[in-house]
Subunit: 273 residues, 2 copies
Amino acid sequence: MRHDRHSPIGVFDSGVGGLTVLKALIERLPLESTVYLGDTARVPYGTKSPEVVTKYSLANAEVLLEYGVKLLVVACNTASAAALPALREALPIPVVGVITPGATVAAHATKTGKIAVIGTPGTIASGAYQQALASIRTDLEVHTQACPLFVPLAEEGWVEGEVPRMVAEKYLSGGLLSRGVDTLVLGCTHYPLLSTIIQQVAGPAVTLVDSAHATADRVAEVLQERDLLKRERLATERHYLVTDTPNRFIEVGARFLGHSISGARQIDLKLKG
Amino acid sequence: MRHDRHSPIGVFDSGVGGLTVLKALIERLPLESTVYLGDTARVPYGTKSPEVVTKYSLANAEVLLEYGVKLLVVACNTASAAALPALREALPIPVVGVITPGATVAAHATKTGKIAVIGTPGTIASGAYQQALASIRTDLEVHTQACPLFVPLAEEGWVEGEVPRMVAEKYLSGGLLSRGVDTLVLGCTHYPLLSTIIQQVAGPAVTLVDSAHATADRVAEVLQERDLLKRERLATERHYLVTDTPNRFIEVGARFLGHSISGARQIDLKLKG
C-alpha cells in the first residue's frame, strides 16, 4: 500500500507495554495518526527465543503495512533486540526501535561512565544494549540484570507497596548498583510503570532512563528527514489492533497509555513457518 | 494414525506447568509411553481468552494425534476450562482434563462444605471449577481467587522466602480463607511448586488439593475401561515437544518434573483461523 505524509505511524508491541512509547509519540507528534498493534495472543515476548520473536515481529509488521503505515516503531525492547535487522530487510519503510534511542540518552547522561541496564531475559541475553552503548561510547562500563517478574507486576497493577519493593530490591541490590553506576536504563516498556519503586530502591544518585521520549524524538527526526511529517490538524486517527479479544487490553492498557482506550479491533496474524 | 495399547499417552500444556501432571502419570503408570507437548511459543494461556486458548489447544491435539496417542491429557487448567468440549468433539480418542478429577477430590475432602479454588484469571473467570463442584455436590460453598503472579514466581524459581510469602498473603488473606474454608484447590499446574508457602499462609487446618494425582488415577481408569493399558516393560518411551527453542523448557522443566529432561524437539503448530 502506498503512503504519504498523511499516512499513519505503525507501532507494535507484544501487548500493552508499548503504549508507554505510543503515549510519548502522541505527545511529541500530536498531529500524526497512529495504528497500534498489541500481539496479545502471544504475549509476553521477553521469555521467548529470538527466532520466535522475529517470526512474530515480521507478522505484526505485515499487518501494519496493510494499514499503509509510513514508518514502523518497534515499541518492544525484546523485539527491537531480536528482530530489527530482519524487519529492516523485509520492509520498504523506515523502522525505529527503542534500544538505540535509549542507549544514546544513557550514554550522554552518565558522569561516572557506569551504566546499569535492566530488561527481560530475552533483551538482556541478546546483548543489544551492551552493543548499542559500545557503538556510542567505547569507555562505558555496562552492568545488566534480567527482571522477569517486573512485567507481570506491572500488568497486575502492583506498582507500589511492599511486594514490588521487595522484588526490586532482590533484583537490584545484588551488586548491580554497588559499582558506581549513576544511570539505570529501563530496558523494557513495562518498567516505567514501576519507576517510582525502582527509583526508591536505586536511590537519588541514580538517573533512570526510559526510551519512550528518546524514541519519539527519533521518529520525529526520521519523518522530518524524509519530508513525511503531517502538518494538518485534520483527520488525526487512533487505531488499536489486538490478536486476542480486546477486553483485557482495553482495561490494562489504560494504565499504560494514561487515558482510556475507546475500542480495539481483533485481528489474526499470518504466521509463516 | 491407528493406536493400540502400545501407543503413547499424549499430554499437553502451555509450557512447563503440566510436567507436574506428567510426573504423577509416570508414577501411577510407569509402563506407559508418553509424548508431552509444551506450547512454549505461546505460553502463558492463563491470561488469554477462551477463544484463543481453544484454538491453541486444538492445534496441540492435532500434533499429538500425529504421534499416534491413544488418550489425551489436557494438563493445563486454563485449557481444560476453555477447550474440553471442542477437543472432545474434534478427537477420536478419550480426552481427560484436570478440573473434574481435582474437583472430585476436593468435594470428598471437605468437612465444612466450604472450598476455595485458586487459579489463573482464565480458569477462575470460566467458572469451570464452580460448575464441576456443583455437579458433584450441590451443598458446597465455593470461593475463588485468581492469582496471576503465582505462575511467573514458579517459573522464576522463587518458591520460598519473603517475596512469594507476601504475594500469597496478598491473594489469600483478603477474605478467601476467613469463611470456614477447609479445602483449597490448587487450580493451576504451576501452583504445586508453591505449595509449601501456600500451606503456611493457609494454615494447618486447610487441606491443599492438587489435581495431578487425581488426573493420573482417572487416566488409569479410562485406559482400563477400554482395555488400552500397556502391560509390558518393553519400549517405554518419553518424548518432549516444544514450540519455542528447547533450552529454557529443559532448564525450567526439570524443577517441575523432579528430574532432568534429556532433550526436547522443537515443532511448529498448524494454527487455523
